[in-house]
Amino acid sequence: MSTTAITPQPTPFGRRLKRFMADRPLIPLIILLVMLVVVLQILRPGIVNERWLANTVKFAIPLAILAGCQTMTMLTGGIDLSVGTVATMSAFIMATQVVHHDPAVAILIALVPAVLIGLVNGIGVGVFRVHPLIMTLGTSLIGTGCLQVYQRTVIASGAKIPPFLAWLGTGLTYGVPNALLLFVPIAVLIVFTLRRTGFGRLLYAVGDNEGAARLSGVRYWQVITALYVISSVLAGITGLLYIGLIKAPSLSLAEPLVLPSVAAAVIGGTSIFGGRGGYTGTIIGALILTVLTTLLTILQMPEGARRILFGLIVLFVTAAYLRIIEDR
């Protein structure tokens, strides 16, 4: 095609670099991540070692999977605030059921509520058109309540973490976290789904212009229901992985990951208004947040100052990233 534009003068290097970055938004994001790591290394020489890397990856993975749920739902203009509750539920239920059942059975039992909550979310958003934020907030309240009721019935039975999950959550093989065994396939699957499958296309389309998608024959409720079920199941799996990592089932296990998971997706370039973004950015976003947490843990300063710094850095990173990828 002879339609490429004729640019009057040779473009200056700075602009070319910018355009290069704008076309590959992952690169500036990775640069920002590396910068944070460098700062960390400067502040605490020697911290960036094999063990630290493994730790960071271990903690970033559950966050990244939950952020994947947010990425996918955000692409459709939604959000899934119930992931924390779902992950906690499946972790807690698995840990208490494994006392009575085979681990495989316990895991299956643990994923049932995940599917149910996903289904309810999907139907509420897709069929009844409830705003996703409210819908998922509501189901997460309901889920928490159910979990509390459930925990009373199992107080006496104690809890156990199957060795397999502990191995997956905390184990290292040649210094590489075993959790990658679970995460890499999931990540590849999400990226592939978003880029190369019909379902992925529909997520973008529905989020961008639902009416247009409808006119093209897309049934909104089908897409949304499938989406929220997938999101919930992923959250359930995250819960299982996370309990393997933390090894202490509690009723608020994964709750603290919810806001960061939204933040990771947004930092990674996914628009909360839908139609724009992808999962690779989100993974880097999750890593950035994890490294940032470490950075602030390591710095000795009053807790207040620590939080201020956290907020400022998140803002700075996102702003810098946007500046770089903006093509104008």
């Binding site: 020697g46 990592l245 509690s250």
Partner: protein, 321 residues
Amino acid sequence: SAEAKYTIGVSNTVQGNGWREEMICAIKAQALASGEVTKLNIAHRNTDAAGQLEDIRNLISAKVNAIVVNPADPAGIQSALEEATKAGIVVVAVDQAVTEPSAYIISNNQEQYAYLGAKWLFQQIGGKGDVVYMRGAAGASADSDRDKGFKKALAEFPDVKVVHEVFTGWQQDQGKQQILDFIATGSPFNGIWTSGIDNVIVDALVESQTPLVPVVGADNAGFVGQLNSVEGLVGAAVTNPGSIGGAGVTLALQILNGKKPAEQTVLVEPQLWENVTAEGKAKLKSVADPSLSPEWPVSISIPEWTTYTKDQIIACKGPGE
């Protein structure tokens, strides 16, 4: 015993935390065991002092005979407690003191809790060295009480240095990531004091194959189990019984029945169980309870104050359920 005739209201502002869940179950179990309570009216959710004011006022509207309250803040709920007393309701604060003078207080001594554990830890490391100080939630009043106790102990040991101070937010996952991050820096440390996020810390030490250092935690079932079983682990559990809720019910019933205590405030003094001396080991063995959820404190009863059985607290059923 006496016939059931009282309604007791309960107000608690943290939900989904093992300690608080045990407290609620202790309240239920004690109400049932006493046989004097017809109904419990429990407001139990995550909220702040203002939310607790709302809950207490709702309980006043519900015309309960007594209110057992775990205060979000000692001073913040004073006005509602005052209103309650004016309405003829007996108010008992558990776990933490309140500033309202008409309220009765039966509480764990948080300052002493921290002091006891910290002092043991500092002695254990020979009076000098570097310790990691893993606090609770920034801005919580229980945390600042404990900080006072910790600082008091620290002042007695001038050679002990805090190399690392963080807030776990009383979250297991945060605590674990924080200690792993610190381990990764390679900085040496001689001991760890925790504000109850303890078993994940031991886990982290074991997983990262770091030499074990003395660890002080609470009497959570998980940590007590580790003190008994993890090889080479030296540590101490300081009691902080969630069953204080049950004691609160007992005190409230006593007052309702006209037996006012001599003092407005009753402090339940913490105990320290270490796994260094033979005596301590035996104690730890005897209290260990692997059937409990690892987040639950093992001290599920307080002698003289609670009368329920272990089955009753585990069943977690109040009167009429």
